[in-house]
């Protein structure tokens, strides 16, 4: 797979970077809490929890490094190979879940599936901001999926 690129404005990059700093520390907890870990064997459960936590830590570092390195206008994130692209795709999913659980867990699933329609002025600013970022992370993810898809499946 060739190098893949994700492009955004410098302003979007700055806003998303700031949000990542806030949300990343909680992402591991969200990941473990969401998982249905088998509880019949303590050793397995412990391994399971450690694996999910370690993975979440790696994802937070990956996102932080990628956004920090995306300088200039427009800001470009360059993913050099398939492994990097898939890891980044997965990390974006993690941060979207963290936002969902921590900021707008009160929004019903069916409404969240149409997140672009949710920019309601009645929502508190903090929630509107988080929703906008959630959608931006989603756009980056969709851009990446279309690039991976066109190379892998066409």
């Amino acid at each position: 797979m060739a190098e893949l690129r994700l492009t955004m404005t410098a302003e979007a990059r700055n806003v998303l970077t700031d949000l990542l700093r806030l949300i990343a520390p909680a992402a591991a907890r969200v990941s473990v809490n969401r998982a249905q870990i088998p509880d019949t064997d303590k050793e397995v459960a412990s391994f399971w929890t450690e694996s999910l936590s370690a993975q979440a830590g790696e994802e937070a570092r990956l996102l932080a490094a990628a956004f920090a390195n995306a300088k200039g206008e427009p800001a470009v994130i360059i993913l050099k190979n398939e492994a990097q692209s898939l890891a980044f795709l997965r990390a974006l999913s993690a941060v979207r879940f963290a936002l969902r659980e921590l900021v707008f867990s009160d929004i019903p699933d069916d409404q969240l599936e149409r997140a672009e329609d949710l920019d309601d002025e009645n929502l508190p600013n903090e929630k509107r901001h988080a929703l906008a970022c959630y959608s931006c992370f989603g756009l980056l993810q969709q851009s990446l999926i279309s690039q991976i898809d066109s190379e892998a499946f066409d």
């Binding site: 088998p38 999910l52 795709l89 997965r90 999913s93 969902r100 969240l112 993810q141 898809d149 892998a152």
Partner: protein, 95 residues
């Protein structure tokens, strides 16, 4: 004296797998995109894009799909891997 011929007993025996089978079940979620779920299925389950799309559509329309069935240890690893990709996956005993 001739030894009596021993007639071999011939019977049938039902062969049953010793270990119970476990299902890897994926549940629908409102966060992951359909395209993302397909990419995950292809990478984790090693199936074709077409089969992955079928599973994804089943999850989307029915709320859940069994994507793999087999021995517990392997099923656990697949569930863990799917959870590492942030899909809502769980283990269920088959039958």
């Amino acid at each position: 004296m001739a030894k009596p011929k021993i007639k071999p007993e011939i019977g049938t025996e039902k062969v049953v797998s010793a270990s119970p089978q476990w299902n890897v079940v994926v549940l629908n979620d409102p966060v992951n995109f359909q395209g993302y779920v397909i990419v995950v299925f292809v990478n984790v389950l090693g199936i074709s894009h077409t089969q992955a799309e079928k599973f994804m559509l089943k999850v989307h329309s029915e709320g859940r799909a069994t994507v793999w069935t087999g021995e517990r240890e392997r099923a656990e690893m697949i569930v863990l891997e799917l959870q590492q990709w942030h899909l809502s996956a769980k283990l269920e005993k088959n039958g």
